[in-house]
């Protein structure tokens, strides 16, 4: 639909009041249509497409531009004109008329661009423009401007400027709606992701909790059968049954602790109980504790460490981090050696855990320290997906850093750097947002 409503005032051309009223009515009707079109716009491109076209229709101008504020620059984002203007160009706010309009929060009407000091003449010389009118979008805090251009000398009438202002107001509302719509969509996507992650987590958590529960239940029922004489029994078999049931119960308790820990970290702060200890010895102890798991996984655990690396940290938390990293290395690097390095580097302690397993696929590398992040598919590798999340929280609470390097199918190296003495005022720290 092409409607030309260039409507000079009666004083300018002697038009009859009836013609003026008809023209005003026609322009108003067009603005109502535009309001409907803009209200349905869901993105900025659609708004610009509507506005650049309608801006010309309303005033009968030879060209229209849609300018967006981009920091201290004016970005000529779109245009509709008899020949090219400045689409895609950026000009400093202080060196173009759209910038002047936005900075002064008022319309500019220029009958002869070559006679106005606000106009950069060199920029206009290659164009058809002789006259222009420019209005800001959102007068209170302009986010852009709409320009009209004429090839012949023309002073935009008060009516034309009013129409442009009305279009700018509609555009401002439409742009805010688009922003709100985009924000709403983003939040909905976040909410959907959160629900999906939670559902997946519940399913994974149920699976993980069932595993030690299954072992515990079977061992206890077996103990019951042995004690009742249902099957051949002796004291050592009953003892073995009982100790395996206890081990499964402890594993169950550790999983529950991990869940509660993650929940605490999400909702509050991590508290460190700092004490002086030797990191090399602590690492050796963790490796000893994991010896049977390493044997089952077919991994040799190799430690490279000096006799001692003394420092001040939270022993239980540091052991928890080491256990998580080593458990992952044994899980994902089964059948191959796992190297652990502990050393002092200037005023920091450095820990490395290197496996030769499946590695971390690049597409999930950015999420590996998030809650429920995991390197392998859930159908292949169990675990709550909390180990690295907890590790990062603990290391950052010590004012340290944790990072990894990995190539798929070649393994992964996790590196931790800790200040030798965590200072008391970092004993609590807010949780990192994943």
């Amino acid at each position: 639909m092409t409607v030309r409503m260039n409507q000079p005032t009666p004083a300018a051309d002697g038009a009859t009041p009836t013609r003026v009223v008809r023209a005003q009515l026609s322009a108003t009707e067009r603005l109502v249509e535009v309001a409907q079109e803009l209200s349905l716009s869901r993105d900025l491109d659609t708004i610009m497409e509507v506005v650049r076209r309608v801006a010309r229709e309303l005033t009968g101008a030879d060209g229209a531009t849609f300018v967006l504020r981009d920091g201290d620059l004016c970005f000529y984002a779109d245009e509709d004109a008899i020949s090219p203007l400045w689409k895609g160009h950026r000009f400093p706010m202080t060196e173009c008329i759209s910038g002047w309009t936005m900075l002064h929060k008022e319309a500019a009407v220029i009958e002869d661009v070559y006679a106005d000091a606000r106009i950069p003449r060199e920029v206009y010389r290659p164009t058809f423009v002789r006259s222009l009118a420019m209005v800001p979008i959102r007068t209170s805090a302009p986010v852009g401007a709409i320009g009209n251009y004429w090839a012949v000398r023309h002073r935009a009438t008060e009516g034309e400027v009013k129409l442009l202002r009305a279009l700018a107001d509609l555009t401002s509302v439409a742009m805010e709606n688009v922003n709100l719509y985009a924000e709403l969509k983003r939040r909905m996507r976040e909410a959907e992701d959160a629900v999906r992650a939670r559902e997946e987590f519940i399913s994974v958590a149920a699976h993980e909790l069932r595993t030690p529960l299954t072992a515990m239940l079977l061992q206890l029922q077996r103990l019951e059968a042995l004690s009742a004489g249902e099957v051949r029994s002796d004291a050592s078999r009953r003892d073995e049954c009982a100790s395996r049931a206890v081990a499964a119960a402890q594993r169950f308790a550790a999983l529950v602790d991990g869940l509660l820990d993650a929940s605490r970290l999400t909702h509050g702060y991590i508290h460190l109980n700092l004490e002086d200890f030797d990191l090399a010895s602590a690492t050796r102890e963790v490796i000893d504790r994991l010896a049977s798991t390493a044997k089952r996984a077919g991994c040799e655990l190799r430690l490279e460490a000096p006799s001692s690396v003394p420092g001040r940290w939270d022993l239980l938390r540091v052991e928890q981090v080491l256990t998580n990293l080593l458990s992952n290395a044994l899980k994902y690097g089964a059948g191959r050696p796992v190297h652990v390095v502990v050393e002092r580097r200037d005023d920091r302690a450095h820990i490395e855990v290197r496996d030769h397993g499946i590695g971390i696929p690049p597409e999930i590398a950015g999420k590996i320290f998030e809650r429920f992040g995991r390197a392998g598919s859930i159908s292949h590798y169990g675990g709550l997906g909390l180990g690295l999340y907890l590790a990062r929280q603990v290391i950052e609470a010590h004012d340290g850093t944790i990072r990894f390097e990995s190539r798929p199918s070649e393994g992964c190296t996790f590196s931790i750097d800790l200040p030798l003495r965590t200072v008391p005022d970092t004993q609590t720290s807010p949780p990192s947002t994943p």
């Binding site: 595993t211 299954t214 239940l217 079977l218 077996r222 590798y381």
Partner: protein, 130 residues
């Protein structure tokens, strides 16, 4: 109890496979344990005789239960060995249908249910064990 009745337990969690193996051994079964689908296939191919029954977990490293079943069904020497699913999978019933398992047991599994299913499956496919 027929002492030659052999059950293969394919389960990545050592605590569970230990508990199941001990329980079955208490009741006179001969048990072969494998930590994942690939290890199970290797052991099955090396064994002089296939087991009477396979207790199969689904979520395992290297080769999971679904992948194991696909290979097993494609191998004429192993295809006829009946499989009982043993998993915490949310929809274990449809997984069992999908994988043509003769039965399924949801974790945490009850010892008596385990023994009954193993006994029943063995009887159905191999005759009475008694």
């Amino acid at each position: 109890m027929n002492e030659l009745a052999t059950v293969m337990v394919v389960e990545d969690d050592a605590d569970i496979s230990d508990a199941i193996a001990s329980t079955l051994e208490d009741h006179g079964y001969c048990v072969i344990v494998a930590a994942n689908g690939q290890e199970a296939l290797d052991k099955l191919r090396q064994a002089p005789k296939p087991p009477h029954l396979i207790l199969l977990d689904l979520m395992m490293p290297v080769l999971d239960g679904w992948q194991f079943r696909e290979v097993q069904k494609g191998d004429p020497a192993l295809a006829d060995v009946p499989v009982v699913l043993l998993s915490a999978h949310v929809d274990i019933r449809s997984a069992a249908n999908q994988l043509a398992a003769v039965a399924w047991l949801k974790k945490p599994v009850d010892l008596r249910a385990l023994l009954e299913v193993v006994e029943e499956c063995y009887k159905r496919t191999n005759g009475s064990m008694a």
